[in-house]
């Protein structure tokens, strides 16, 4: 999958949950879901459920706990896609 496409897909998923719209404009690998994008922990669960639907993967508890930044999320998505 193209890096650019993955970024765009992820940004689309995150958009409705991100409170900080300025951080959303600067959406990049180091964007932290909670600290930068100001997603609350309950909506982080929704982001993961949306990621599961979008990419047809299943995210386990351990992966979820490591999903702090956009880069973490992309790593998990790539890894789960490879395991399919």
């Amino acid at each position: 999958m193209e890096e650019k496409d993955l970024n765009a897909q992820l940004k689309n998923i995150v958009e409705p949950y991100a409170q900080n719209k300025e951080a959303l404009l600067k959406f990049n690998d180091s964007s932290h879901f909670i600290q930068d994008l100001e997603v609350n922990s309950a909506n982080l669960v929704d982001i993961i459920l949306d990621v599961e639907d979008e990419f047809d993967i299943e995210v386990d508890n351990d992966s979820m706990e490591g999903m702090l930044t956009v880069e973490d999320a992309k790593k998990i998505i790539r890894q789960k896609l490879q395991e399919k």
């Binding site: 309950a42 909506n43 669960v45 993961i48 459920l49």
Partner: protein, 144 residues
């Protein structure tokens, strides 16, 4: 079964005047049903509204959350052999159809949408004694 209900009620982190669950009549991993009767002397009737007591929507929402999300959440955590720690309401989206007056008994029915990563989201409905819909919505909570 009765013991199971009482075990859940005992674990509820609320007490008077903010406990809005009397009893549970059904619970399984996907749904729960329970009731509460709003007594004439609930604390909020004095001010909501002046000389015209009506149960506030926020209290109806709380009642739906306590029966529909917290009781079900305690049951689901028990299935996973975990004890509830700190719980928090994370979202509500509720539509209201009928008022609830002092003394009315309500029945809450909740169906699980998902329980993932310690977040429980449910579709919850509340009915009055005539089985008419009072309110319904989606309520979610999360536990630490």
């Amino acid at each position: 079964m009765l013991l199971k209900f009482n075990e859940i009620l005992d674990k509820l982190p609320y007490s008077h005047p903010f406990l809005f669950v009397d009893e549970l009549s059904r619970i399984d991993e996907n749904s729960v049903e329970g009731t509460y009767t709003f007594s004439e002397d609930e604390f909020f009737y004095k001010g909501h509204f002046k000389n015209q007591p009506v149960t506030p929507g926020v209290i109806l929402t709380e009642c739906m959350a306590q029966i529909g999300v917290v009781c079900l959440g305690i049951f689901l955590l028990k299935e996973e052999k975990e004890e509830p720690q700190k719980i928090a309401l994370s979202s509500t989206e509720v539509d209201f159809y009928l008022p609830v007056l002092p003394g009315e008994k309500v029945t809450v029915i909740s169906e699980k949408m998902y329980f993932r990563f310690k977040k429980l989201k449910c579709e919850v409905r509340m009915y009055n004694a005539e089985a008419k819909l009072i309110c319904k919505g989606k309520i979610a909570g999360i536990c630490a």
